[in-house]
Symmetry: D3
Subunit: 334 residues, 6 copies
Amino acid sequence: MSKVVTFGEVLMRLSPSNHRKMRQSHQLEFFFGGTELNVAASLANFGMRVEQVSAVSKDFVGEAAIASMRHLGIEVPAVTRVDHPLGLYFLEIGAGMRPSQISYNRLHGAFANIIPDTINWEEILEDCSYFHWTGITPGISEAAYKTLKNGLEVAQKKGITVTADPSYRNNLWKYGKEGGEVLAELTGLSNIFIGGVNEINEILKTDFELSREGFIEASKELIFTIPSIEKVFDKVRTGVSASWQKIYGQAWTGTEYINTVELEISSVIDRIGTGDAFAAGIIYGLENYDDQYTLEFATASCVLKHTILGDNSLVSLEEVLDVMNGNTGGRIKR
Amino acid sequence: MSKVVTFGEVLMRLSPSNHRKMRQSHQLEFFFGGTELNVAASLANFGMRVEQVSAVSKDFVGEAAIASMRHLGIEVPAVTRVDHPLGLYFLEIGAGMRPSQISYNRLHGAFANIIPDTINWEEILEDCSYFHWTGITPGISEAAYKTLKNGLEVAQKKGITVTADPSYRNNLWKYGKEGGEVLAELTGLSNIFIGGVNEINEILKTDFELSREGFIEASKELIFTIPSIEKVFDKVRTGVSASWQKIYGQAWTGTEYINTVELEISSVIDRIGTGDAFAAGIIYGLENYDDQYTLEFATASCVLKHTILGDNSLVSLEEVLDVMNGNTGGRIKR
Amino acid sequence: MSKVVTFGEVLMRLSPSNHRKMRQSHQLEFFFGGTELNVAASLANFGMRVEQVSAVSKDFVGEAAIASMRHLGIEVPAVTRVDHPLGLYFLEIGAGMRPSQISYNRLHGAFANIIPDTINWEEILEDCSYFHWTGITPGISEAAYKTLKNGLEVAQKKGITVTADPSYRNNLWKYGKEGGEVLAELTGLSNIFIGGVNEINEILKTDFELSREGFIEASKELIFTIPSIEKVFDKVRTGVSASWQKIYGQAWTGTEYINTVELEISSVIDRIGTGDAFAAGIIYGLENYDDQYTLEFATASCVLKHTILGDNSLVSLEEVLDVMNGNTGGRIKR
Amino acid sequence: MSKVVTFGEVLMRLSPSNHRKMRQSHQLEFFFGGTELNVAASLANFGMRVEQVSAVSKDFVGEAAIASMRHLGIEVPAVTRVDHPLGLYFLEIGAGMRPSQISYNRLHGAFANIIPDTINWEEILEDCSYFHWTGITPGISEAAYKTLKNGLEVAQKKGITVTADPSYRNNLWKYGKEGGEVLAELTGLSNIFIGGVNEINEILKTDFELSREGFIEASKELIFTIPSIEKVFDKVRTGVSASWQKIYGQAWTGTEYINTVELEISSVIDRIGTGDAFAAGIIYGLENYDDQYTLEFATASCVLKHTILGDNSLVSLEEVLDVMNGNTGGRIKR
Amino acid sequence: MSKVVTFGEVLMRLSPSNHRKMRQSHQLEFFFGGTELNVAASLANFGMRVEQVSAVSKDFVGEAAIASMRHLGIEVPAVTRVDHPLGLYFLEIGAGMRPSQISYNRLHGAFANIIPDTINWEEILEDCSYFHWTGITPGISEAAYKTLKNGLEVAQKKGITVTADPSYRNNLWKYGKEGGEVLAELTGLSNIFIGGVNEINEILKTDFELSREGFIEASKELIFTIPSIEKVFDKVRTGVSASWQKIYGQAWTGTEYINTVELEISSVIDRIGTGDAFAAGIIYGLENYDDQYTLEFATASCVLKHTILGDNSLVSLEEVLDVMNGNTGGRIKR
Amino acid sequence: MSKVVTFGEVLMRLSPSNHRKMRQSHQLEFFFGGTELNVAASLANFGMRVEQVSAVSKDFVGEAAIASMRHLGIEVPAVTRVDHPLGLYFLEIGAGMRPSQISYNRLHGAFANIIPDTINWEEILEDCSYFHWTGITPGISEAAYKTLKNGLEVAQKKGITVTADPSYRNNLWKYGKEGGEVLAELTGLSNIFIGGVNEINEILKTDFELSREGFIEASKELIFTIPSIEKVFDKVRTGVSASWQKIYGQAWTGTEYINTVELEISSVIDRIGTGDAFAAGIIYGLENYDDQYTLEFATASCVLKHTILGDNSLVSLEEVLDVMNGNTGGRIKR
């Protein structure tokens, strides 16, 4: 089986349970996530072979992170250990009108201090078909950016399909680079763009509007400006409240606009990682389905992730297909 | 007070908390349930005298099961101990579009190995008015089937009203009997049928359709074919999602079709045992109300069970009557 | 910063987690609440200086109560210790059609046995701008009533704005006084009335109806009869179920009727203390906003409290303003 | 099987887990105990038929208490419901040099408000062989004292063996009676005295010293003064720390002094209810063994209770006999 | 790195926390263990490459078991899935004089129903240096026995060192074979015997006594009778209580008797799997150390396992060496 | 009441419960500690007025830290907020021969980024009698060192007694200063030295040996070299295992050597912060007792802390005095 490779930070998430606020808690649930890890976990669940390249701390927290990756079915031979603490974030899970809140502790962590030369991309990408990256990684540190760029160059050379989820986060990019420029450069080393109008505007310094038309125009402009990109996949979310969300998928296939029906979830268990479940759905679909089915698969994957606690989607292939077949009434499976 | 007797397996339920999947868990909540036990628990809560006949394991798990039955107010003098492990099942509780999943470990358990001769039905059914059985029991093992049949014959002889919930489960019936035939035979020893078109089709080998008309026709045919049956009570469920369900009751009273308004629950806590809460409502109603009120009582009992964690309904008589009186807005009771 | 003073019982709340019933539980979560404490906590969260006057038990439970008050940012120099157990209540949290249930143990507690002479109101109310009381306190015991009356008299003398939430509870008032009369007397020592038709009817022995018109008429009558009252603020709640509530605010400003749009919460985490969050919003608004904005602020504060576990609102000023600005879709704050 | 009857308060115990202090906790574990209930639970575990007479609250806490008694195998037909809260206590569990601490809330509870006339002792004591009481009960309230005295008089009339554990607690006896006098009066209606020098000194107003000789002299004096008493059973405890205890039993059989070897427990799980496990051992022994074996059985029962969390001993007959046979090395039972 | 292969059941362990008894619990902690899995986990922790061959259930429990094995660092390519529930056991953890109790549910489980032909031993044992088995496996079912025998024959053919821990459990062996005979046969396909006088007596039908001399004589007789065995390693345990244990190691190296000092643990966290930690220590030592150091390493590994919750030893190489170097005073490692 | 001021980092501690290792856990208990905070908490418990100066993160974690300080009774007006994450550490709690392990994440945290100019020492030290610092603070960052030095200079100027606990940690001191030199400089601004031979050797670059004589010689040399120091207080610990520790105190009073008996704790709950409980005992003693009683008080305080979960000692004055009076047998306090 050919392999998907992801590259990114393994982040520890710490959150009070049962919608408590930090101040009301004496204990925290934890999960190992990070946007690329979430994509990897989801793909492993779908049955694909996945390897994540990363750097974790040289302590018992780093050991736990690696064990957790293996637990998820992710291959870890190129996870290095560095003498810095594992990046982490605190999460207060919202409800109703109260949004979730996140506070990060990652900018001086193990991954930010990855040593580019310790990652042998030639070897890692040997039998790889897809390489996935996100806009988080190059925003963390120069070392992370360089390591990623090295990887993308090798990937392009080897003809690997590169999927990019270049979301911009303004609490990153503290090391001196301008986010939009870097993302544009790295998008130029990629083939599939997972994102929408906001992301394209950030990269192209444009101001397309948030609408179907805006999406089509922006996608065309993106492909015109950065011709390595072949297709643009996006999901559109409407929040009724923190507990009730509606989502549909849309794409520009290079030649046409396609979209899905809107799916609705009125009892959100966990919203973190739902975008990553969408990205994983796209990658799985690229390998197995046509564009329309890929988009529907990714949207169902995304919606189902809202029912799973933690960062990682543990949704199986069968569960996604079930939802695509309209089995959404919650009949018990015995 | 005259007694209700139930006969069936005491099943241990093990499930991760907070909608976690098994893979994400280090601990499991457990409850002692089983469809007949759930009916018994509900009736005890309504204030009826109930005894359950069963067989449990001769170890500390079986002791805990018996203590739990006493806790629920169920009488246990005829619960025997056999040298086999207690039957159990694992449950992953779904949410939204993700359905709950169940995995059983019961076919070689204590109840499957019940010894028919150790159950003295003459004595047990001495001062009994209702005997309740379900289609699960005869599907577990030949020993369970025989013990049940013995009991039903004594019950019929004594003029006890027998209520049957002959649902068919295709992961049972591994011991050589054909389910439909056995259920037909045992229904012939019963008076009240709690079930709908699916159950009747299974027993009569018919194919009535799932509609009001289908239900009426199927009920008539059932009573024609198996004349010991006097009335048919059924509930109809529509699942918006695993977390949002709608339910109404319908019945064929032998002479007319009656039904209830549809009740809705948008924040399901636990769906297991809701059918049993309906059956318990029917039995309580048979003793205390007319058919229409019985059906409404059973439907309200069923809906309220969705708000109780675990297999057993702990809903009181007052709570059911409150819902029937339209008090559904959640005003705090001080 | 001028100070708000509240006077009332510190009540320990004990409730099973995850919607369990008491019978299904081996452990209870606890919080320190009480209606006046909840108001105080909310005001401290909004950034106001607040002191609560109370009496707690002379044991490790009382110590924990005081530590918890400090934790919330409430000043505690006038919390006395008496040799009686802390008042407490048990709560079973409902869901869907099942209402929450409360059982109290407070009538012989520490606060009921407060010694009026140990409370030096002159000193406590030195640099105080607002004094808040509720109808719970005078219903607990004669000692509590007397202590409150002493305080109100000093407050009036000092020109402090007194806010009254004179809700009547019929499981109190066991010590020989008639609730309505006492509440009328104490309302006569107050300036702002937080309550609606029910409360006014109780005090004035009238029977205004539950409607917009009824509210206006009742408010006018209240101000006519008890002229110390200047304004009446009220919230109107419609319960779809215990888990789904709709709320809007209304007020009689002395000269006109104002109200807010209805806000909706479909996934209630905790309903206790939501009225107190409304009252706190009113007090904060009186100090900072005009009447319309005050009412909107209080209503948003009330609705947001439904998303916080426990009795105390931990909602910040920013969170309330966010909801007032329409940010209710649950977008994660990073 | 002849029955043991106990009479006493059902107390709810609330304690932080894992040796936390109250101030460090957000949740409490709870158990239903009370010294007489503990004796009853232990006897039920040994296989005896036991009924407890009591009064509990008319709310969901009282329901939980009754369910818990049934769970333990205790018969509850004469448990009445009164409109007062259930008595309870808070416990901080010590460790090492830090002693456990208890704070009570029971003096105005359901049991303190028992209505003597609602207890039909003639009927309750119909087929009873042993009646057990302790010095806690008459210290709670006059109503409790009167109800107990009524019961003891009926018991003596019927020739039932009365076992008394008349320990004196100075945080009780707030209703006007002097503890020593009342205990002397009630001991005069009893046959077996479970207690030692301290208890005898309290009752006889003597000052025997704490030694083997003192115990023998005190016992002789007790039997001389209160001739209904036939035998005196006592346990002697030496505390190395809260986590490490040594215990042996001694008795005056009416004619001779007997004792046991000292047993040692270096990892105490829970010390509450260990005296009650001793008393239960005495009662079981009186029915089944000679005095020496009774004393050894009771001492082993007492020591084993230190390994059980909560107030109730869940130790089985086999486990006690195992310890008496020297199997104390912790070999796993498969 | 050459590989160790283990073959055995993956057992789910379910136990109440905090020394509770089953009857006192509403939730259970779970771990995936099984004696051979425990050995494998321990070896993976020491840094060896380990693969376990097994059969697990075709449901979400089996998935969780496999994920857990990966988490531990065990390779799982030859773990098959069969349509039977995963074997499991319930454990009540003792304390002080109260021993732990275990109740099994494994005889009709997935592993008992392994299909011998689905295990390709030639391939599995390709680059393997050590093959480890225990006496549990052949006692479970004929299928398990046959599969094991197939494996041992291939292992012997390939010159792999076979380590045997042939402990006899009398609650197994229900399928018609006599345990001692089977164990003798399989020991004849093994090279290193991990066990002592009891195990040798069971196999040889001898009655050597439990002493140093008995061990030496038994070992000699074993090697004489079953000459494939080269060395015998054993640990000797003295239980002060369930919480306090003393252990030393002894061995017959084929030419001489060696032993270790006795190590003591006065605060046992978990005793399950301590023998497996000893066996893992032996295997690690065989590869890396001489006999004396191997025995000391294994004994320290065994003692350290008593401090780890659950079945699997998570003790690292460094931690074992630390104890061997006398660092046992608990100085915090920062 | 005059005030004690401490200056140091508020550290969040995260540890698995029940002796689990990180890899075995899904949740972590957390506490806010840090060596100076622990001293402050202990003093507040003894009834002293204490203020801590610190810098915490500008997020909900920092808010929780401040609330927790208030909860402990520590005054917080000079706790600043900076835009860096709160320092934290992970702890795996050992048992028996397995030592606890700690992994830090603090070097880029809020406290390391404290801004010296934002701390107004003149104002803070207005009515202060004792200023306490430790060797951790100057090792974290240059900013922390400078802020501390500023404070010490003001303290000396004001004649405040400065207590120093200058322990050296080699995982700090990454910012370019040599630890020993800095500690010597700051000790020169202090009056009471809490430490022993190791600390003195580090500061003076000497090599006194670990013995009573070595302690006396080292203390004399310290006072000779750094004459601001008047007295040296030290505790001596012997670890039987991580769960069993022995401790006694010793001091050089400037004129004589004094010491205490050795106290023993065989069931350690938590060892973190025990040295801080000793330091707090010294400070409390300096204010209230003579040297010998001070040393005994501090030693008892230290030993009692081993029974409290978390970093902070919650031991009361009465509990310490009780131990000093020999009440160590664990008799329950009712």
